[in-house]
C-alpha cells in the first residue's frame, strides 16, 4: 500500500538503493599518498567518502570526480 499522501517517514532511506552497481570505473585511494585535504570528501556527489577517506562502494557510482580533484593523484580509477 501507498501511505496517506505518499509521505515517506523514513529519513535517508534511499540508502536501500545501492547505486554501486552503476559503476564501471572503481576509485581506489592510496592512503600513503593522501595529504588529508578533504577535496574528495567535499566533492563526492554521493557523499560516500568518510572522514577517514574510506570509500563506500555500495554507493560510489564511479564518476571519477574524487580522482580528478585529488591534488596528489592518490586516487586511481580502474575498470571493474
Amino acid at each position: 500500500m501507498t501511505s496517506v499522501g505518499a509521505v515517506v517517514r523514513d529519513p535517508g532511506s534511499s540508502i536501500k538503493n545501492k547505486t554501486g552497481s552503476w559503476r564501471t570505473f572503481k576509485p581506489t585511494l592510496d592512503k600513503e599518498k593522501c595529504i588529508d585535504c578533504g577535496n574528495c570528501i567535499l566533492f563526492c556527489p554521493e557523499g560516500c567518502i568518510t572522514k577517514d577517506y574510506d570509500i563506500d562502494y555500495d554507493y560510489c557510482k564511479g564518476c571519477g570526480i574524487c580522482a580528478e580533484e585529488c591534488p596528489v593523484k592518490a586516487i586511481k580509477m580502474e575498470r571493474e
Binding site: 529519513p11 534511499s14 540508502i15 538503493n17 556527489p45 564511479g62
Partner: protein, 288 residues
C-alpha cells in the same frame, strides 16, 4: 572554515554519476544543519531524491510543484512562525527553470514579502530533468534540444537572464552567486544567508555532465573553468552593497571553458569571439 561532517542528504539517490546538483545540496545542508525544512521545486533534485517509498532527505522536506517553490516556502515559513518555531531555517531549492522561468513570479512574491527564508537556485543552465531544453538561464551559444545548432542556428541566441540582479532589485538583505567548485566560498555564503533576517537568495552555478556534454569526472573542473574564465562571477550583495568574493589570479580565455563541453562544440570562431567580448566587457566593469 569549520565544515560540519554530518551528511544530511543520504546516498542511494538516482542522480547521474558526477551530478553537480547533489554536491551543491550536500554542501548547503552541511551549513544549514538539521534544524532546517527544505522545499523543492519540481526538477532533477526532487525526482532523484524522493523515489517513493524512499527519500534521501534526512531533514523534513516538501515538494508541491514546479513553479511555486517561493510560495510553498512562504507558507511553510509562516506556519512555523505561527507555531513559535522561529529557530527553524527554511530553505528552497529550485533549478534554473523553476527559478528563472516558470517560478519567477512565485519567487518574486516571496522575496518582496520579506519572508525569513533562503532560496538556492541550482543552475545547470537548461531543463535537465526533461532532457536538456533551453531555459532563461541557458547561455549564449549553447546547443540544447530546443535551441539545437544547425544550418540556420548556432544554438541559444540570447544571453543568460540575470536572476541574481533581479533578486537584488527586490532589495532583499542578501544575494549571492556561488559555484560548487568553490565550496568554501559557497558554504560561507550559505552561512551568511542563514544568519540574515529576511529573504536570502543564492544562485549556485552547477555543471551538468549530461546536459553540457563532458566526462562525469570533470564536474568540478568545469565549474572552476567557468569562474576562471570570467564566464561565471562570484559575488555577494549584502544590504545592497556589491562585493566580488573571488578574483581569478589570471583570467583564462573563454575558449578553454567552451571547448571542454559538447554544447558549445559547434560554435564558429565568430560566435566564440562574441562570447569572449561579452565576458571581457563585464569583467572590465568589475575589474576581474
Amino acid at each position: 572554515m569549520e565544515i560540519p561532517e554530518k551528511e544530511l542528504l543520504a546516498p542511494g539517490h538516482r542522480a547521474c554519476a558526477g551530478c553537480g546538483a547533489t554536491i551543491g545540496v550536500r554542501l548547503a545542508l552541511k551549513m544549514l544543519g538539521e534544524n532546517t525544512v527544505a522545499v523543492s521545486a519540481t526538477g532533477c533534485l526532487e525526482v532523484i531524491t524522493t523515489p517513493y517509498p524512499e527519500t534521501s532527505w534526512k531533514i523534513p522536506w516538501i515538494h508541491v510543484a514546479f513553479e511555486n517553490a517561493g510560495a510553498v516556502a512562504s507558507g511553510v515559513e509562516r506556519a512555523l512562525k505561527a507555531q513559535g518555531k522561529d529557530d527553524v531555517t527554511v530553505v528552497a531549492f529550485a533549478g534554473d527553470g523553476g527559478t528563472a522561468d516558470i517560478g519567477l513570479q512565485s519567487l518574486s512574491g516571496a522575496m518582496e514579502r520579506g519572508h525569513n527564508l533562503i532560496y538556492i537556485c541550482y543552475d545547470n543552465e537548461a531543463y535537465m530533468n526533461t532532457g536538456v531544453q533551453r531555459s532563461g538561464a541557458t547561455p549564449y551559444g549553447a546547443s540544447t534540444t530546443t535551441t539545437p545548432h544547425g544550418e540556420e542556428s548556432f544554438g541559444e541566441n540570447k544571453p543568460k537572464k540575470n536572476i541574481p540582479m533581479i533578486m537584488a532589485a527586490h532589495g532583499v538583505p542578501y544575494v549571492a552567486t556561488a559555484s560548487i567548485s568553490y565550496p568554501e566560498d559557497f558554504m560561507m555564503k550559505v552561512q551568511k544567508a542563514k544568519e540574515v533576517e529576511g529573504p536570502a537568495y543564492i544562485h549556485l552555478h552547477q555543471p551538468c555532465t549530461t546536459g553540457w556534454g563532458y566526462d562525469s569526472s570533470k564536474t568540478i573542473e568545469l565549474g572552476r573553468l567557468a569562474v576562471e574564465t570570467g564566464s561565471w562571477l562570484l559575488y555577494e550583495i549584502v544590504e545592497g552593497e556589491f562585493k566580488i568574493t573571488y578574483r581569478p589570479l589570471e583570467r583564462k580565455p573563454v575558449n578553454v571553458y567552451l571547448e571542454a563541453q559538447k554544447r558549445f562544440k559547434h560554435l564558429a570562431d565568430a560566435e566564440k569571439e562574441k562570447i569572449q567580448n561579452y565576458v571581457d566587457e563585464i569583467c572590465a566593469e568589475l575589474k576581474i
